[in-house]
């Protein structure tokens, strides 16, 4: 792992906790941001291979609905979240076997199609999903303990922060491995990988399944935080949101997704409060500025300003 990440990581984690102490309602915002950050971490894996998925909200919904469906039987966060990640992994493997054969616009659109099929199923199968009403998730226990709402929110936030740190570290290790380094090789010279005896499809499938697992886990956390799931979780605009956050944060580092997600959620919450009719325009303008003036995202800006790295991506 890049040692230069240690300090900003610790600073960011401390900031999240400090802000959540100062403004209690931010606990919710940061938990959802970190959960989305986990899903965007998965998007980053695919971006390294030059592939953009416009359907990863599918796995957030799979994770969230896994929690919602299992909640009557299982009332424990420490069981529900691994199960959400497992469900993401299984669905990701099944869909991945198919989409890992495709590249670029076909890859992006096939993912979109799968997510919208799932959205329709969630909406139409009212008997199981309660359609657009969604499913309420009674607050589960954590480690067998029934917590009051404030303690519960704290526990989920700190737990999610710990997961983000651990998984961010694991993903940065993965990206430095031969497998992770083969991802940009898919982008630049896929045939050469084949002539090295490596299946590019299999490499992409591994990244895809990992990304689905991360998004499934993120979805499970979202369900445990909002305590209510609806088909909208799988809607294509939410997939677009993940890509938006990935570009906003920057794909150059595993910190980018979390930085992007935190800024995105904060801008969204404050812009929506201050300009109820124009907040989407503000988000659009922010993205436009990022793309035009800082194509490597917020992390790229940090690198340029603080680390003064002259390396161009």
């Amino acid at each position: 792992m890049d040692r230069r990440l240690t300090l900003p990581t610790l600073a960011a984690a401390t900031t999240v906790v400090a802000l959540a102490i100062a403004a209690p309602w931010l606990k919710f915002v940061f938990t959802v941001a970190l959960a989305k950050g986990l899903a965007v971490l998965g998007i980053l894996l695919l971006l390294r291979a030059g592939q953009v998925s416009f359907g990863h909200a599918l796995y957030i919904a799979v994770g969230a609905y896994t929690v919602a469906f299992l909640r009557p039987a299982i009332g424990e966060v420490l069981l529900l979240l691994p199960l959400a990640a497992t469900a993401g992994t299984i669905v990701g493997f099944a869909v991945g076997l198919f989409v890992a054969r495709y590249r670029d616009i076909f890859f992006g659109m096939l993912n979109l199609a799968f997510s919208m099929v799932f959205y329709s199923l969630l909406e139409k199968l009212y008997a199981y999903t309660k359609g657009t009403d969604g499913i309420r998730v009674p607050r589960p226990t954590i480690g067998g303990v029934t917590l009051d709402p404030v303690a519960y929110e704290w526990a989920v936030l700190v737990g999610t922060l710990a997961l983000a740190l651990t998984l961010g570290w694991l993903v940065s290790r993965f990206l430095a491995s031969p497998l992770g380094q083969a991802l940009p090789a898919i982008k630049t010279r896929e045939t050469r990988l084949e002539f090295a005896g490596i299946s590019a499809k299999r490499v992409l499938l591994v990244a895809y399944v990992a990304s689905a697992a991360l998004a499934g886990l993120g979805g499970g956390i979202i369900a445990c935080t909002t305590l209510h799931v609806t088909p909208l979780l799988s809607y294509w605009t939410h997939s677009g949101e993940l890509v938006f956050i990935a570009i906003l944060g920057g794909a150059g580092s595993v910190l980018g997704p979390f930085l992007g997600a935190a800024v995105y959620e904060l801008v969204r919450v404050y812009a929506a409060a201050a300009f109820p009719d124009a907040w989407q325009m503000i988000l659009g303008a922010v993205l436009l500025v990022i793309i035009l003036f800082a194509a490597r995202g917020l992390w790229g800006m940090y690198e340029d300003l603080v680390l003064r790295k002259d390396r161009r991506a």
Binding site: S177, P178, Q181, P184, A185, R192, E194
Partner: protein
């Protein structure tokens, strides 16, 4: 005579009406360094593409070390010990030179280890050894996009050698290289092949290079092998001169 390492029999393939292979028979003995020459469009690269699994011949058979490899996918053929380099170097442009080679070293060995760094001690040492062999140690940390053509060619070949092949197929290792550099590149290349005991076939347009380095030369013409033998004999054959050299001198080859 020892059994051939590579044996092609009756290879045929056509693109539209053009016969790129029209009954190719060729044996490559272990340890040989064979040049393939011939005018553009004669089917030289097609032969490499068929041997490495990129193209499937319409008919005919290819055996490698006694086993049939005809029509097998590139990955399977690579694992059996055939590697190739490219006329236009195919480098991973987001990686440095050592990473390019290390990816190939890892591909041959410990690739599916998701949490071990690519440049761990073993892989980095193996990659560095290859870079030294190819005189590339000085550019190890340069990006693949920053190199001149000769260095790109050598990197491309070093990447193929990183797979520890028994047979290496090279498509014009000196094309696009400044003529002052070409013998240097070939000297480095031949020394590396000898040191690793790799049998090699190379497509070449430069007759000076062919005469100086090849053990044997095979002349391609319109999908057929016109002649095959020691360079001195083949390159003085009037039919070959007319077919290959004649066309070559009329063709502006930089």
């Amino acid at each position: 005579m020892t059994a051939p390492l590579l044996s092609a029999r009756g290879l045929k393939i056509a693109f539209g009406g053009v016969k790129a292979a029209d009954g190719i028979d060729l044996d490559i003995a272990p340890g040989e360094f064979v040049a393939i020459i011939g005018p553009n469009g004669a089917g030289k690269t097609t032969f490499i593409n068929m041997t490495t699994g990129y193209l499937r011949p319409h008919s005919g058979h290819i055996h490698f070390d006694g086993a049939e490899i005809t029509g097998r996918p590139p990955r399977s053929i690579v694992r059996r010990g055939i590697a190739r380099s490219f006329q236009i170097p195919q480098l991973f442009t987001e990686h440095t030179v050592i990473e390019n080679v290390a990816l190939k070293v890892a591909a041959h060995g410990r690739f599916w280890r998701p949490f071990r760094p690519l440049l761990d001690a073993g892989t980095a040492a193996a990659a560095m050894r290859l870079l030294e062999q190819f005189g590339l140690a000085g550019v190890a940390t340069a990006r693949a996009t920053e190199l001149n053509e000769g260095t790109r060619k050598l990197t491309d070949i070093a990447m193929a050698m990183a797979l520890r092949p028994r047979l290496l197929l090279m498509d014009e290792p000196t094309s696009g290289v400044a003529s002052a550099e070409k013998f240097g590149i070939m000297d480095t290349l031949v020394a590396a092949l000898r040191a690793e005991r790799v049998t090699a076939v190379f497509v070449e347009h430069d007759m000076e290079v062919v005469e100086r380095y090849a053990d044997r030369v095979a002349v391609w013409s319109q999908g057929k092998i016109l002649a095959s033998g020691p360079p001195a004999a083949v390159l003085s054959d009037p039919a070959v001169l007319r077919e290959v050299i004649g066309v070559e001198t009329g063709h502006a080859h930089a």
